[in-house]
Structures are given as structure tokens and as C-alpha cells.
Amino acid sequence: MGNERQTNSEAKLRSITYALFSQLTASPYEAASAVLVLPPADMPTVLDELQQALPYPVDFSTLIEVAQRLSSTDAESLRQDYASLFEVGSDGPPLPIRAELARGRSPERKEELVRFYEFFGYKLQPSWQWAPDHLSVLLEFMHFLTYQESQLSEADDIASYRTAQRDFLERHILDWYDQIPRGMSNLTLEISPISSTYYQTLFETLGKFLHLDFAWQQKNLGGSLRSSVDESSLITGY
């Protein structure tokens, strides 16, 4: 019983972290994101609580510091620069916020992504269905899986969801995500200094979190679960 309670708690913490990052990487222009007020005055508090409670040593302090420096006059810059980085651009957006637009990614991965969602009963609103590979949605799915895990008590069920988290993170986020913080570092597009600092820090912090979370999962799954799948055994649905 004691272990289950601990597991649930860890899953809930991770779930909230994924939800938070899902929100922070969503477009500030989307109506559904209107609850996210820029600058996010209470975000530092939440981040601080999370970094203390997560089951692995994660450092959100730089992001907290940057977020604390945001003022109400920065909101418009953050919105505009998010769009300039990820949504609009003459040769497409400078940085990929959707996995499909990342370099070197196989088009077949999108089918697997949707299969993952279907398998676990995760559905998108019609207005979002065209972008199942948006980073915010991917993180929300991780939030969904971890939240589901937090509600479970059977060891096999928990292992099932943890395996899915590990596979999904590895195959659909980590396989391309680093292009964002790397692209931020090499950005030629001029954006406001505050946006540059904020988004650079956000995506570096998120990247560290994702890698830490993945490593933690690897460690905790141990040898009881199978490792990554043989690609050649997969067939597409059509």
C-alpha cells in the first residue's frame, strides 16, 4: 500500500508538471489558453513547489527567476514573439513546434501518434485535430498518461501506463524536441530580449525536465518491462 501511495503521488506531481509545460508551450493566442495570464505571476510559485516535490532533482530556478522578472508590459511581446518563433514565417516558422515540421522525422510517426491517442482514449477537439503533434498537445498527452497512472492501484496497470509514458516520450517528443532549444540558441530572427530570455530558458528547462523524467522512468521501469520495440515489426494501417 505504501508504495502505491508513493507512486500515485509521484505520478500526480509529474502530471501537473506536464500540464504546466503543456500550457506554457501552447499558443498564447488560443482561446482555450486565455486562463494563462501573461506574465504568469503565480507560475514561479508552482514551479518552486514542483521542483521540491518531484521525485528527481530538477532545477527550475532559472525559469523561476526569469518568470519573476516578467512584467505586465511584456505580455504582448511574449505573444507576438511566440507567433514569430512557432506560428508564422516566410519560410515557415523558424522553429518547429509541431513534430511533423522537425527535421529528420519520419512521416509515419504521425500515424503512430494518433494510434497512441486512440489506444488510450485521448481525443482532441475538432479545431485541434489537425495538429496532434503540437508540442503542447504531446505534453498534454503525457499529462494525461501520468494522471491516469496516478488514479490506478493495480501494479500491472501502473506498469502499463509507465511503459507507455516512456515509449511515447522517447518516440514522439525526445526524438525531435532538442531542435527547439538548439534552434533558440542559433536564432537569427530578431525578437525582444525578454522573449528571447524567457523562451530560451523555458525550452532549455523543459528539455532538462524531459530528459530527467525519461531517465527516471528508465530507471524505475527496470528490467520488468520490455525495452524499445523493433521498428521492423510495425506495419502501417493502410
Partner: protein, 911 residues
Amino acid sequence: MKGPKLTRRSFLKGSALGATGLMLKYASPALLHAETVPVARYRGVEDVYRQKWTWDKVVRGTHGTNCAGACAFNVYVKNGIVWREEQQAEYEASGDAPDYNPRGCQKGLCHSSYMYGKQRILYPMKRVGRRGEGKWQRISWEQACREIADRFIDISVKYGPDAIGMGSGTQMVIKFGTLAAFLRFAAITGISVPEYYSGVGDLPTGAYMTLGTPTVGDTIAAVFKSKYILIWAANPAVSRIPDAHFFWEAKYNGAKVVAICPEFNATAMHATHWLNPRPGTDLALVLAMIHTVIEDKSYDREYIIEQTDLPFLVRTDTHRFLRESDFLQDGQVEVFYVWDQRTGQPVKAPTTTLRLGDLQPSLEGRWKVQTRDGLVEVTTVFELVKRKMADYSPEWASGVTGLHPQVIRQIAREFAATKPAMIYTGYQACKWLHGDLIHRAMLLLLSLTGNIGPEGSGLQILNSVRADGLFAFAFAGIDPTLRMVSGTTWDYEKGNMKQLNEQVYGKDLAQVIDTHYQTSIRQGWFPSYAKQGWKMGIFAGNGSPGWVASAKQWREEAFDKLETIVVMAPDMGFAAHHADYVLPIAHHYERVDIMFHARLPYIQVLDAAVPPLGEAVDDWTAMYRLLAAISKRAKQRGIKPIEDVVDGRTVKRDFTKYLDLYTMNGQIKGIRDVIQFVLDRTPGVPKVTVEELAARGIVRVKGSDSTMWGSPESPYHTDITDSVVHKRPYKTMTGRQQFYFDHDWFIQFDETLPTYKEPLRLERYPLRFIMGHARHGVHTMWRDHPLLLQLQRGEPDVYVSAEDAAQRGVRDGDLVRVFSPAGEFIAQAHISHGVQPGMVFMYHGWDPMMFPTRHNFSSVICSGGLIKPTSVVGGYGHLGHRLLQFAPNQTYRDFTVDFERYQPVTPQVSR
């Protein structure tokens, strides 16, 4: 075990943190369905593949782009995503020709991936940096439309609505419902609409001059009915992929297929014969073939006497037709004479029918005729043709084209001896300065051999659908005025092309062109656009200044001077990159529309398989939002109606009423209503609803039993059958296929008959630049698709001969600078033995943004200002300002360039 009910609230309640209240603000953006989700058992990623993949729906669709293929596709949708498409393949045949299946090519078959590509415009954008700098701000539709509306109103009031131009690319005009909406938008607002036929050098003016119609052509199945096919200035194996099988099936049906093109291409590869004249010398080849037919007397005497002006009499002293006005002071100038062998005197040619009755016109001879000017000698047009063609022997043509005279004679003789025979061509010839002469000569060859009219014969360019329904919608309840401007002459004026002509061709030629152009305007033959420049340019449907001939000049003189540039497009490109506002438009699978394509006897639907991506909307809705904003802002600002004069008609323009007019006071609620309105009023369309059409994908049009467009029941033009079968006069000045033009300017420039004019060659620029439609793109559409780029060189390339490359120290794959006096561009050298020395070949469609300096092939085109004097003739029968029929073509070809190895010093991006 049942899982939790996943709502935001349940997630938050389940949180173990004390910060639950704060968490509320970080709820997820993509809403989870508020339903119970069963716990899934997952062991590995194979598990997600175990469930059979099923489609949520299969939607009928196609690609509303200007291959004009209108290929029927099934579009497969799951979870709101288009995953793939497949040819519908339910076409039936025309007559005993093979059926039209399957239609579709590799471009359409990968649209499901392209539509999600990075080039998509997803949100309204406003420029925040300098033009072309690439700095954008995402804005709302409301803000975009409000700001554009204010500019629209201000410019309309201050300068007149003609100071706003809306250039429509073919992505818009090829979709029939959207085209109707666009024309209505233009008619309501009075904006200038550049005509998109001659404006891109596609208008078959030679066909119009000869036949009275530029839209000549039958279904593609007519190819199968032919026994001798000259594929000339076209490359259907590449550019007409769904149609090409008819050519090869015609071979199995006993036809000979002769490809005539300077480069060895995919069509030549499959042809019975390949003739490779030197680039730009095709006219010499046609004339030599005519020479051979006349020399052999293998012409169809009966046919040409009835159908053509060849028996018409011409005065040898003035080189004018013998007219009624030569005999009577008040005689008509458009009544002509033939020499009647039976009565031995000149007799008026019938004007209401082509039937000759008792008349026995002579084809050959010279006679003396008493006129008001005294006794004059007359002869026939045919005699003049004979004399003219005598100069064009195969031996002479051999020197020009490089083809052996025996080959020319062989092809000419086979062509004359085999019926039915056809010339299949595209729009390439129209783009040459003397493209009209090429088509006039081709038609003369066809006519002499009796090959205009019978099934499987003719000059096969492209027919067009009758526009009754289109214009019924455009003008319903409003003044039937449309400010359509000739793109070529507008460009000449606003692009300061006279200056370019002087720079490239010298002051003498520039002066000749300008003098005749100005005379034409003074005479009222063609309108002038000198007074009003555009202040606002709206570029829709992927319309782009990246395509204008002599683009560098045009950009600097016209495009860059626009005060406001608005782009409505699904994909980024040069125009969008340089715009002030960019509005996102739905792509092919995200909208509803219909397409007509004269190559096949079906109407094709585009149905909306998925909602538009991001905040994109269809063009109808975009125009609706603009007009809504204009009407709203006009009311708020108290803007009074203005008076506008279009073609001499005064039109009152009340901005506050624009939206009501557009929707017919709310009757038209969306593009489906537009389409239904048009369908119901287009002749030849069976009674069908948009919904039925969407369910079926394709619907066969009436009057399509034959491979020809000859039935009055059909929705297509039947002028040729009307004349050849039903003996109705052609819509030409002479009422016949007209090969002789006795207008002063035709006499002055020795073009009364088809004649040889050399292609233009610039000193110090030895290589002729030839272009063609690409296999892996339709104009700019899909040209930047990564999948398709993998099948090519991955970047713009120019084909050069090994000899020319070696002379310049260029190796395959090197970057080269291609240059002319008009400009330059950088591309990869593609050394090919299929290309003759002395030419550079490039498949077109590459957007300027795909080049290192943002200049594409359009920049080296020197000929954008070459307005041929005979193309602005007016007051002469059927010749005069008739948009979409007779207007000066944009000269896109007919120039020479050179190239050299490109060695960039420092990376530079120029405007």
C-alpha cells in the same frame, strides 16, 4: 477497472499539491473529452498497432490548381486528419475511345502531406519589419479586416476603386464557384482585375485571329481518334500526366505520334518520331510543311474553298481584300468577293452561311476587275499563300531548324496523307513574340489538309466552359460592370517597360513598339492604364509578381510602389513574403467547390474533408469578411457613396451596401450557395445539387457522347463544329477561317499571311532560354514539397548541354549565374545530353523565395515590354480590345541568356 472521468476539474481535484488553486490556471489547452476512459493495457508500442486502422470518412475531392486536371480523388480522413488520397477511377469512356481512368499524378497524391507542411499560412499576419524582412505579427481576422477595410475605403474615395488591383492566381480562378464569388466581389467594389489569360502569355491570339475563338480543343479522348498527332510545343508526358495515356493508346490504335521539341524529353521518348528543331525555329518548320503540302498539291481543295478565306479576292495594287466598298461608295467594307468560275466574275462570298450553293470559287488565278479606282488586278489569298510559301522550302527550313529536308518532307507528307491528323499543343507558343504567327501557320497547315473539324483533328489547345452561370452570379442584381484590365498593357505602363525595351533592344525598336501602342490607345482600339496606378494590391490564389515577365523591372516599378499589399493564400511564397497583410486561405481538401476541365466530360467536386487548418477560411469567406468590415467601417465613419465610371457607365458605389450585395441580402450564405447558383445556370450541366455532387465526386456533362465538343447540349464551346458541320460562318471578319489580314499594320510588318520571323537574339547572350511545365509541380503548387524535391535535385536547376557547360568551366551540380540584360538568377547546373548546345532549359514553377537571391527565371526575361503592334490592332472586324479573346500576350519566351559558374563572395539577399 473503470478509469476516472477526465475533466479539468477531476484532474485538479486529484492533485496532491496544495497549489490546486493555482493549478486551475494551467488547465490543458486541448480539452479532454468529459467521458469515462477505460484503462488501457499497454506492453509495448506494437500494441497501438493492433487495432485495425479504419477511416472515419472518405470524401470526394480534387486539387483546384492549374494543371486543370480536375482528377477525381477519394480523400481518406481519420481523427480530423487527411492521411492519404487515391484516384476515384469511376470515369466512363467517350465513344469507343479508352476511358479516362485513372486520373491523378504524384503531385496530387501527396497533397495530404503537403497541406500540413511548414509553408502553410495558418493565421492572419501583419508585417512588423521592412517589406520582405520576414518579421510578422499574428493578428486576428477582425483586426486584419478592419485595417485593410480602412485602407480600401480611403483609397477608393481618394483615388477611385480602380486604384485597387486584385490579382488572382490560378488557384482561385480555376475553382469555378470561387471564381464566381471573386468576380462578384470585383463587380461590387469596382477594383481592377488583371486579366489572367494574355497576362501570363497564354492567350492563343493566333487561333482567335484565324478562327474567331481562342478556345479550341476537344476532350483528351479525341487524341485516340487521331491517326497522326504532332505534339508541338508541349510535353504531355510531363505536364499532362493523367491525359498522356491517350497518346500511347493512339499509337496502339495505329496512329503516329510525332514529338516536336528541341530537347529530348519524356514525351519524345515515347513518340514514333522526335523532331528537334533549334529552339525558337518551329515557325520555319510549319511553313516548310505547308510548302510541301502546296508543292505536292496534297491540300483539300473542297474544304478550303468552303471553310477558309483562301479563295477570297485581294487587290494586288493595295494588298487589300476586294470589298463591296471597292464597287460602291456606300458599299460595306466587310463584304468580300470570290472569283466564280461558273460566271467568270467576282461574286460576293455568302455572309450568312458557308454553303456555296451554285458558286464555284477559284482558288488560283489573276483577273482584272473594274472598281471605283478603275481597273485593278485581283488574285486569291491562296495565290498569295502559294507565293509566300514558295520561299519556305524544306531546304531553307533545314538551314534554320537544323532538321534534314527529307525529314521535313516525310512528316509533311505523312501528315497530309493521314486523316484525321491533329496538332496537340499547349500555351507555350503563345508566349513567344510571334506566337500568333506560329498558331496561324499551324492552322493553315491543318486547314489545307482538311484537318479542322473532323473528330481526331484540329489544333488542340483547350476549350473553355460557357460562362452563363458564372456571370449570372457575378452580376445578379448589380451593374454588370467589371473592371478587367489587360495585364500586358498594364505592366507596360506601370512597369515602365518602354525603358526596359530601350535598354535591351535599343531606342529604335522601343520607339516602334511605343508608337504603335500609343496609336492604338489614341484610336480607342485598346484602353490606356496610364492615368491610374495601383495603391493597393491584393494577391489571391497564389497570384504573385514572381511570375511577371521581366520581374525585376516590374517589382521595382510597380510592386514595390504599392502602398498596401494584401495576400490571400494557403501557402507562403514571394508575394506573401513581401506583403503587409497575409490572410490564411483553405487548401484543396478544406473547402467546397467545383471544377470544369474541357479535357474530360465531367464536373468535379472539391468537398471539405477536414476543417481549414489554423484560422484559414475559404476565399468566399475571406472576401465576405473583408466586405463585412468595409460596410461596417463605412457606416461607423459615415462614408458617403462614390460615383465610379467603368467603360463609360457611371456606377454608384455605396460601401455600406457591399456586404448585402455580396450575399444578395443574405440569400447566399456560403460557397455552397454560390456553387448551386452557378450549377443551375450553366448550360450542359445536369440537374444536380452540391450535396449530390459531393457524394458522387464526378457528374458527366451533357452532350459528351463524342470525344469532340460539338453538341449544342454541352457546356463547352462548339464553334468549330458549328462552322464545319453546320456551315455557320466563323466569328471572324471574313466569316471564314481567316488567314489573310489586310490591316495597315499587318501589311507594314509583312504579316498579312503566316510568315517567318526569326526569334529574338541578343548580342553577347548566345543561349536561348526555354522553359516548360514541371513534372513535380503545378506552377508554384507543390514545387517546394520536400517529398517531391527528393525526386529532383532538391533545389532549382537549369539544364545545360555538356558542350556549353564545358566551355564555361561548369560541372554538373555547380551553382551557375544565369543572366540577361534584364536580370539574373542563381541555380544549380544540370548537365544533360537531352539539351542542345545553344540552349538553356528550365522547368518552371520555382518561387523566387527558393533562390539564393530571391530572383527566379522571371528576372532574366527581357521581353516583358514587347507589345507586338499587330496585337493591339483594332477597328478591324473581329480584331480589337476583347479581353480573354484578343489582347497582347505577355511575351515570356523569345530571349537569350548566358550563364557562368557562380562563386558567391558573401551571402547576399537582395530584394
